[in-house]
Symmetry: C2
Subunit: 481 residues, 2 copies
Amino acid sequence: MSSAKTQPARGMRDFLPADVRKREYVIGVIKQVYERYGFEPLETPAVENIETLMGKYGEEGNQLIFKILKRGEHEKTGEADLALRYDLTVPLARVVAQYQNELPKFFKRYQIQPVWRADRPARGRFREFYQCDVDVLGSKSMVVEAELIAAASDALVALGFNDFVIRINHRQVLTGILDQAGVERAKHDDALIALDKLEKVGSRGVDNELEARGINYGARQRLLDFFAVKSVERAMHFLPDERVVKEIEAFNEVMLGRLVEFIGAHEIGASGVDDLRQVLQFAKASGADRRIKLDPTLARGLAYYTGVIIEINVNDLPGSLGGGGRYDNLVGMFLGKDVPACGFSLGLERIIVVMSERNMFPADVVSAPADVMVTIWNEDSVGESIALASELRSKGLRVDLYPEADKLAKQFKYASSRGIPFVVIVGDDERALDQVAIKNMQSGEQRLVDRAGLGTALSDLGLRVRTGELRRNKGMGKDDR
Amino acid sequence: MSSAKTQPARGMRDFLPADVRKREYVIGVIKQVYERYGFEPLETPAVENIETLMGKYGEEGNQLIFKILKRGEHEKTGEADLALRYDLTVPLARVVAQYQNELPKFFKRYQIQPVWRADRPARGRFREFYQCDVDVLGSKSMVVEAELIAAASDALVALGFNDFVIRINHRQVLTGILDQAGVERAKHDDALIALDKLEKVGSRGVDNELEARGINYGARQRLLDFFAVKSVERAMHFLPDERVVKEIEAFNEVMLGRLVEFIGAHEIGASGVDDLRQVLQFAKASGADRRIKLDPTLARGLAYYTGVIIEINVNDLPGSLGGGGRYDNLVGMFLGKDVPACGFSLGLERIIVVMSERNMFPADVVSAPADVMVTIWNEDSVGESIALASELRSKGLRVDLYPEADKLAKQFKYASSRGIPFVVIVGDDERALDQVAIKNMQSGEQRLVDRAGLGTALSDLGLRVRTGELRRNKGMGKDDR
């Protein structure tokens, strides 16, 4: 009986057990990789004071924030004093300002929590969704960018992705290009919005939009000359075999050269190009350079980025698997002085969509809810069954206990429906002989074993009597196996 | 600079890394135990349609629900259409009604998520806090109560608790007692509110409150005769040694006898006493009976419980570590037909408070954020350091990389401040010899090893080159070690 009364709120989702296990697997792998890079976990409240969030995400963002009514006598004023977390970056900036004396000089944190946006729900777009953020605060060094790129790349590889491309660009490089092309500063945002559509609408389309947005003919020609050459394929997805790696390396070299040439002595722009060169050089040391492609058309919105910007894409997903960049001024909005910062955010829902479509989840992620089910023979043997279940659990097995004395056929049917591989039966005959029967639910085979040897017998049947460690395997990446 | 601008919202908390690790440890142990009982994870949205929540928690509950303003043009109406999750039981009832055809006949789920209540914040009382719920739907058998009690008890034992008492009672038994004492039905709630204070205010105080609430003299006398005898110590905290176990067993026997005597032929009450007797008998099979004490004064609010009610206490905490009971009618509010249900909820925040005060966390729960830190000697050796960090990470070590070329003393100081036990240095001399230096940050000792043998050397120094499995140890209970 699905009715409006029992559905989750619009754009939000219930996660039944199989869904939760998939989500926990992905989160576990990402956490494990981020911990290897020395990142530490942070959690902030779902609810923030409304002033903390308002004005941080632009006009559109303000409208998409879920606002919470004042309580008690103030409820009828219709005013809001609290709001739901909209991203993980603004709360991080608040935390850094609030606890600056307790935090290390370089604060490396990851944060994997839901955020809420009152967007119109659509396929793959939800009003409650998780962000997996990783950020470094306190250093302007490009080592930070290189580490973030390597960590995000490692996380995706650990999840089984092999065909993603990491596109990088730089906000100052964009400024340099636009200045040198002769676009006045006031029109930079307009020009970037138009250029961002190059892949979708082509040179002609971009030219029309640039014109409509009031960019003069000369600037348009210089921009399109720079961007719309054949070598600037915007998306380049690939399996990183040696030939492609060489191609991409050569491509990046050519692109750096073209940037140097076009930007020339433009100071801000040239310093951005130097940053990009360094990121490429540092990424070589970790091997992440094999997937990085310089892409001068990458803009990634304009909110708070100030330096390198990054986006990771795969072919079969519109939009990105994740993105990030440097934002050296955001913490200053809370702290009154700037703290250099750079971060990257993986999109959990998109990763799960692609992994599900490609069947990338290991078979045991959505395993049976129990290793074995203990039946209840009759009202008199309830205690016996509870004791048996209790004993097997103390050995580390996951044991379901059928909750009622019932027909055995019904109990078997229930075990089958839950996919539980083995069922243990203690009937009157077995009890008299101090034995129990084990039924293999797949083969239907049933055998008797001594009551005392049940744990060993189950383990021989392929059910390792697991220790806690083994049970926690599930969050591991494939590369760990 | 702590200012109102950077503080979390009132009654809510930021969790810095050491806090998150403690919380994740406790959640990990609880999950592991619940999985051993065949429970499966469920997650529901933080936000529910407001009708889903209103009217389910009584008048006081309605006022404590955080309500979310309508969006867009409707924002100015000041109306709310959504609300924040207030507990995990009502969403569970909604889920069972919504997905009844997809869920197994007996739905055993655990759910560990935050809830929000606009309570006045106080010590240990927050506006955002986690509940750890475990529920079984679909069976009226007392095996369910016994399993829930055993699971919650196992979880607390796995966390290191040994001195808790599990108090049980039954709503029908309360009805029977009050009926037989001559309290009219309309006054039952009043009488229970008064009786609930027996431990705090004594017989005289309860008598006064009963009188004030309009309970007649005869009924008051009969109630106080029944409750206010010496053998009914309300709280009985103990280490379950054999002597105490025998005492508690004898106590429960006596109490069952007194209930039978007092309730007599009162049908509903007598059936409740039978349930309690069964729970005690079944709990004996799992060993959980050693901690169970029958307590006829236990009332646990009156919202939706219909049968057995349960509460777990320790001496050094006012309030409970957790509680629960049977609620056979709640799902019917969504589904239109009743589904038997019973659940238990552990209070994460209270567990953490007691564990912190008692120093119950294993030492490695709040470990260093990394096993080793790699330094950066100078601008020319950045790549070398990145490559080294990358190599150690691929071996499963958690490696922090100092992000900048800097004075070595500063880099050591930073490693110290983060508690990282080992630091690796690749200076010019070392590079020339293809060696690296390892500094033990505790002893100050520094030694040279071959570059190729670094992984082995670190492992010899007591830093196991951990596999993914070992890293995931942290969630384990002590009983697994």
